[in-house]
């Protein structure tokens, strides 16, 4: 599980966070208020509680030019929505999905880039041949 204070990855049965020492047992610490909260505990201090991968999702959409980035952004929104509701497990699930779509987009983008460079090189080589 991920620490709700600093985001560090801990063993699922850990009692306290290995990184910041926060009590990880259920019911410990501040309960997340149900509504109207935009700042779950820890996000202000660390910037990352459960990663939503929004930066990578936008990069994938705008720079890889790939529609696969859109689901990544939608899942990123879901992460923050569920975090605000206090649904840590749901947020983690959405976070995993966002990450997966970022990787899909990145992989497709990489494939297109490599293919394009190979095609260019092939073109340059065949272009040198006399007809």
């Amino acid at each position: 599980m991920f620490c709700t204070q600093c985001g560090a990855n801990n063993a699922d049965n850990a009692a306290v966070c290995v990184q910041c020492g926060r009590n990880l047992q259920p019911g410990a610490g501040m309960p997340l208020p149900a509504t109207g909260v935009v700042m779950p505990p820890g996000t202000a201090a660390s910037g990352i509680a459960i990663q939503n991968y929004l930066v990578f999702a936008i990069l994938a959409t705008v720079l890889c030019c790939l529609p696969a980035g859109i689901p990544a952004i939608v899942y990123a929104a879901q992460v923050n929505g569920k975090l605000a509701q206090g649904d840590i497990a749901g947020a983690q699930k959405a976070s995993d999905n966002a990450k997966m779509w970022c990787w899909i987009s990145f992989g497709l983008g990489l494939a297109v880039t490599v293919g394009s460079v190979l095609l260019f090189m092939a073109g340059a080589i065949t272009g040198l041949r006399p007809h």
Binding site: C6, G7, A8, Q19, V38, M39, P40, T43, A44, A45, S46, G47, I48, N52, L54, V55, F56, I58, L59, T61, V62, L63, C64, C65, L66, P67, I70, I73, V74, A76, A77, Q78, N80, G81, L83, A84, L108, G109, V112, T113, G115, S116, V117, F120, M121
Partner: protein
């Protein structure tokens, strides 16, 4: 297997290092060659397959112009990229710092509605630049500088 590799202590630092190297290499390549004329830059798959502009079309050319210091030309290629780039840079730096020292940069927690609005804005921008109206075509790559 990749997951196991990534869970090795310190693997994330290598990832950050590799990412930073790739960024610098990319920036140098973009500074040296203009994607508009160089020929070996990857075409946008969406544009290649469908003939339509996607929200990111022109982003490489925009970044080339930014690296040359031409903000106006960059804006003409892809205004969305120019607007988003500072935020993306900050976010990337925060992620990198988080992996290296365990703490990112201070960040705003964006409510889900904001992210959905941003997503909608990106999609609408992508649609608008394909509409056959002059005002919208100004949003297509190179549109604003076109006579």
């Amino acid at each position: 297997m990749i997951k196991r590799f990534l869970m090795v202590e310190g693997a994330n630092r290598w990832l950050v290092g590799a990412g930073a190297l790739a960024l610098v290499a990319g920036a140098i390549t973009l500074r040296m060659f203009d994607p508009a004329t160089a020929g070996f830059f990857p075409p946008c798959p969406v544009r290649y397959l469908t003939g339509w502009y996607c929200p990111g079309c022109g982003s490489l050319r925009a970044m080339h112009q930014l690296l040359e210091g031409n903000l106006r030309a960059a804006w003409a290629m892809n205004p969305l990229t120019v607007i988003l780039l500072p935020f993306l840079t900050y976010g990337l730096a925060s992620h990198a710092l988080y992996e290296v020292r365990g703490r990112g940069l201070p960040r705003l927690f964006l409510p889900a509605v904001w992210i959905r609005a941003l997503c909608a804005a990106i999609v609408l921008f992508g649609i608008a630049r394909n509409l056959p109206l002059h005002a919208f075509q100004l949003l297509a790559p190179g549109g604003i500088v076109r006579p």
